[in-house]
Amino acid sequence: MKRMLNWFRRRKLESDLDRELQYHIDRRVNDLLHSGLLEPEARRRAALELGGATQIREEVRDIWLTRWLRDFVYDLRFSARSLLRSPSFTATAVLSLALGIGATTAIYSLVDQVVLRELPVAHPERLVLIDWKGEQLAETPLGSDNLMSYPICRDLQQQKRFFDGVFCRAATTINLSTGGDPKPTAAELVSGTYFSILGVSAAPGRLLTIDDDQTPGSSPVVVLSYDFWKNQLGSAPDIVGRKVLVNRYPMTVVGVAAPTFHGIDVGEIPSLWVPAVMSAQAIPGFNTMLDHRTRWVQILGQLRPDVSLAQVRAGLQPWFKSMLKEETRRTEFPKVDPGMLRRFLASTLEVTPAPQGHSVLRHSLSRPLWVLFGATAVLLALACLNVAGLFLARGSARQREVSTRLALGASRGRIGRQLLADSVLLAFTGGLLGVVMAPVAVRALIAFLPRDTAANGLQANVDTRMLLFAFLVSLAAGFLAGCVPALQAGRKSLESSLRERGGTPSGGLSLRRGIVTAQIAFTLILMVAAGLFIQTLHGLLAKGPGFETSSLISFGIQPALNGYSGAEETQLIRRISEGIRNSGSTQASAIASVQLLLGGAWSNSLTIQSGERFTTDHEVQMNAVTPGFFETLGTRIVAGRDFNEHDSLDVAVVNQSLPVSKNGQRVVIVNEAFVKRYFGGRSPLGARVAMGSAPDAKPDTEIIGVVQNISYRNVREQWEQAYFPIGTELSGSNFYVRFRGTPESAFRSIRAILRSADPTLPITYFRTLDEQIGRSLNTERMLSALSSSFGTLALLLSLVGLYGVMSFVVTQRRREIGIRLALGATRLSTIWLVLRDALAMIAAGTAIALPCVWALGRLVESQLYDVKPTDPVTILAATLVLCSTALGAALIPARRASAVNPTDALRFE
C-alpha cells in the first residue's frame, strides 16, 4: 500500500534522492581535496566509490515501487495512450465489458443482499435456526416457515451447555397509532433475549430484556426501529416514555434500536419490536401463546463458541425425544391415528447455521436469483470473449510492432504483460462504467420482486462489498479477455512474423474461430433459457387463475386490529358489504377469509366418509366464503348448489372443529381436482367429511356442491380445495367485488363506503385482481424479461464477433478469392466458400450447446411451468433464430468476397 502511495509522490522522492546523492559526492570531494587530491581526481574518485549514481537510482526506485509494479504502471500508461489512439475499438470493448460487469454486479448485489450477507449483529457465524423436522401436530395461526411453539423456545433457553442464548421471533402486522390515524405497520414479536443475543445497542432509551418477557400481557412496552423513529417521528427527542397504540392497546416506547439494525429478515423490516408476551394484544384473537401445539415463532440460538454444530444436533436429541414422549401424555394432546403418532414421535430437531437470519423472501428468491446470476456470468464471459476477439484482430494489426519489440530484446513475457495491461485497463474502465450502471439496474430488479418493496430492506446502493465484487470481476474479465491474445503473442516464432508481408497477417485466426464457436454455444444456451422462461410466463398468463380477473377488485380490512370486538366487527362488516352490494358500480361481491394468490393457504387434511372411510393423503386447501363467492369470481358450480343464507354459521371457523349452520347442518363445497383425486370422477354429492385425520373425527359435513378449479396460493398450482360457509361471526375479511365501469370509479365508491362506515379503519390492501396476478407472477416476469434481454444481448455480441471474424477471413483470402474468380469460379460459389466457414462455426457452437442445455435444464426445471427444459420446439426455435441471424451476419462479408474484382485483388499487393 505504501508503495502504491509512493507512485503518487515519485517526483518528490526522485528530487530528494538527487539531493541526497549530490550531498554525498560534494562531501566526499571536499574530504578528498583536504587530503591533498586535486579537484578532477577527487571528483573521479568520489564518483567511482559511489559506483554510478544511475545504478543507485534504479536500485532505490525498485525499493520504492517494487519492480513489477513499476513496470506495470508504465505498461498501463503505454496502454492508455495506445487505446486512446483507436477510440472506436476502445469504446466497443469498454461498452461490452461495462454491460457484462454492470449486469453481473447488479444481480450479485441482490444475491448478496438476499442470500449471502450476514446480519450486522454480534457473532452472526454462531447463529443457528432450530426447526422441527417431522410431524408437529400443531396449529399454525400465522403463516410462515420453520415455525415452532413458544414453550419450546423457553425449554431451549435452559440448554446452556450448547447455547449462549436462544430467542424466538414472529413477524406480524399491527395497526400502530403514534398520535394520528392508525396505520398498518410491520412489527416483530420477540422474546426478551432477542436484543442481548444479537448484541444490538439502543440509540436512545433501552431495548427489551428478559424482564419484559415474563407473564402474558404484563409488559406493554415497545422498541422502535431507528428508521421509523427518524422518518415517521422526526427523531423526536422525547420519544422514550411516549405512549403509542398497538391495535388500540396503549404501550410505552422504552427505546429505539441502533441505526444499523433492521431485524433478522431482509424481506420484512420491522418498524417496532413488541415482547412476545404481548402477542394477544398484537395479534387479535390469538391467546394460545403458551400452548405447546401452536406453532407461530421461529427459534434461533447462538451457539457457544466451543460447541460444534454436530455436537448440538446430537446433544439436543435426547432432550427432544423425552420432550416428545412427555407431550403425548399431556391432556390437551390431540387424539390422532397411530401412523400420525408414530410420525410425531419420529420427529427430530434440525439445527442449521443462520448467519443471515431467517427470511421467507430468501427461500422463494434464492433459486431464481442464482439462475439469473449464472446467466449474467455467461453474458460477461461472452463480452470477455468478444473483447478477446477484438484484441486478436487488433493484435494481428500490431503484429509487426510486437515483432519489432521482440527483435529489440523484449521478453515474450514482457510483451504478454503489455497486452494484459491493455485488457485490464479496458476492464477497469468497463467496470467503472458498470458500477455506475449497476444501481439503476438493481432498482429496476427490485421493482420485479414479489413483495412490497417498502417492507423489504433491499437497496440499490453502491456499497463496499459490491465495489469489491465489481473490482474482482473486472480483474477476472481483464485477464480472461487478455490472456488469449497475450499467450498468442508469445507463441509465434520471431523470424516468421517478421518475414510475413504487411498485407497478410494471420494472427490467431483459429483462436478467433474458437472464440466465436464458444460465443455461439453460450448464446444458444441463453436463448433456450429465455425461450423457456417466456413460455412459462405465457403459459401461466394463458392459464390464468381459473376465473375472470378483469373488472374484479379485492381489498382487505382487519377491524380487530382497530379495537373492534367480535359482535361490533360482524356488524361493521355487514354494514360495509351491504353498502357495496347496493352501490351502483357493483355487479356482485363476496367475502373470503383467506386472500387468494398471495402465496399462503389455510390447509388441513380431511377425513372422507363415502361408503368407506379414508383420510386425504395430503393436506387440502381450504377457504371460508360467503354465498355468491363463486358467482362473483365467475367460476361455475358444476354440480350441486352454492351456499345460501341458511348455511351461514353460528360460530367462527376454526381449524379443528367445523362450524354448524343455523339449521344444524354442516356443508362443504369441493373443487373438481378434489373430486378427481378422491372420488375418481364419481359424484361426491352427499358424501360426508370431517376436519383432520384423528380417529375420532366425525364425518358430519355434507358435500353439497362441486366448483371448477381456481388458483389459490399462486397461478402455478392446481390443488384439491374445500370451501366452507363463512361464520355469522365475521372477522378479518377479504372482499371481492365485480364492478361496472372503470376501476378508478369503483375504487372511489368503495372508499367512500368504507369511510362512512369508519373513517379511521385502515384498508390493508386494495388492488384489482389483474394487479394481484401480476404480483404473484413477478418472479416469472423477472426471469422471462431478464433472460430474454440477456439472450438478445448475447445474440448481438456473438453476431458482432462472427461478423468480425468473417470480415477478417475475407480480407485475408482476398488474393485467393481473386484467383478463384479469375479461374472461373462463380460469385455464388465464392459466397458459399465463405459461408461454409461460418456454418462450420455455427454448427460446432450448436453441437457444444445442446448437451449443455440438456445438463443445465434440471437447474431451472423448478422455475418452469408446462414446458420441459428439453422442450424440442423451444430448442429448435432458438437454434433457428440463432442460425439464421448468424448466417445473415456472415452473408455481409461473404457478399463482399463475391464482389471482389479479380484484377484489383491480384494487383493489391
Binding site: 508503495r3 554525498h24 566509490e49 525499493i63
Partner: protein, 113 residues
C-alpha cells in the same frame, strides 16, 4: 585500499546501519564515515549499496528521515531510528550474538581436540 580491510559480511549492513543510528541521527555520508571510524577502518563498506539499504530500511518503517542542516551548514537528509527500528535492532543483535556464539562454540570444540 589496503588488503587488510574486509568487505562487509553479507546481510549485516542493515544491522550496522541500525546500530549507528541508535546512537544518534545521521545522514548517509556520516553513516558511512562513522562505520569506518568505529571499526577502525577494518570494515570497508561499499558506498553504492549504502543508499539502497537506507531507503529499504525507511520503506520498512525502521528508519525515518528528515531534512536538516548538517555540520557544514548545508541541508542533508538525516536518518533516525523509529520505535520498530529499535525493536528490529534488538532482534538482529540477539540473533547475531547467537550466531557468533555458535561459531565460537564450534571453534572451541575444534581447539579442545
Amino acid at each position: 585500499m589496503s588488503s587488510s580491510r574486509f568487505p562487509i559480511p553479507q546481510g549485516t549492513l542493515d544491522m550496522l546501519i541500525l546500530q549507528i543510528l541508535s546512537l544518534e541521527p545521521a545522514h548517509g555520508y556520516g553513516i558511512g564515515q562513522r562505520l569506518e571510524q568505529i571499526s577502525k577502518s577494518v570494515v570497508q563498506i561499499n558506498q553504492g549499496s549504502l543508499y539502497p539499504a537506507l531507503h529499504r530500511l525507511e520503506q520498512k518503517g525502521w528508519l525515518k528521515a528528515a531534512w536538516r542542516q548538517s555540520e557544514t551548514g548545508r541541508e542533508a537528509k538525516f536518518y533516525s531510528l523509529t520505535r520498530s527500528g529499535q525493536k528490529q535492532l534488538h532482534v538482529e543483535k540477539a540473533s547475531w550474538a547467537r550466531l557468533t556464539g555458535a561459531v565460537q562454540l564450534i571453534f572451541d570444540e575444534g581447539a579442545a581436540q
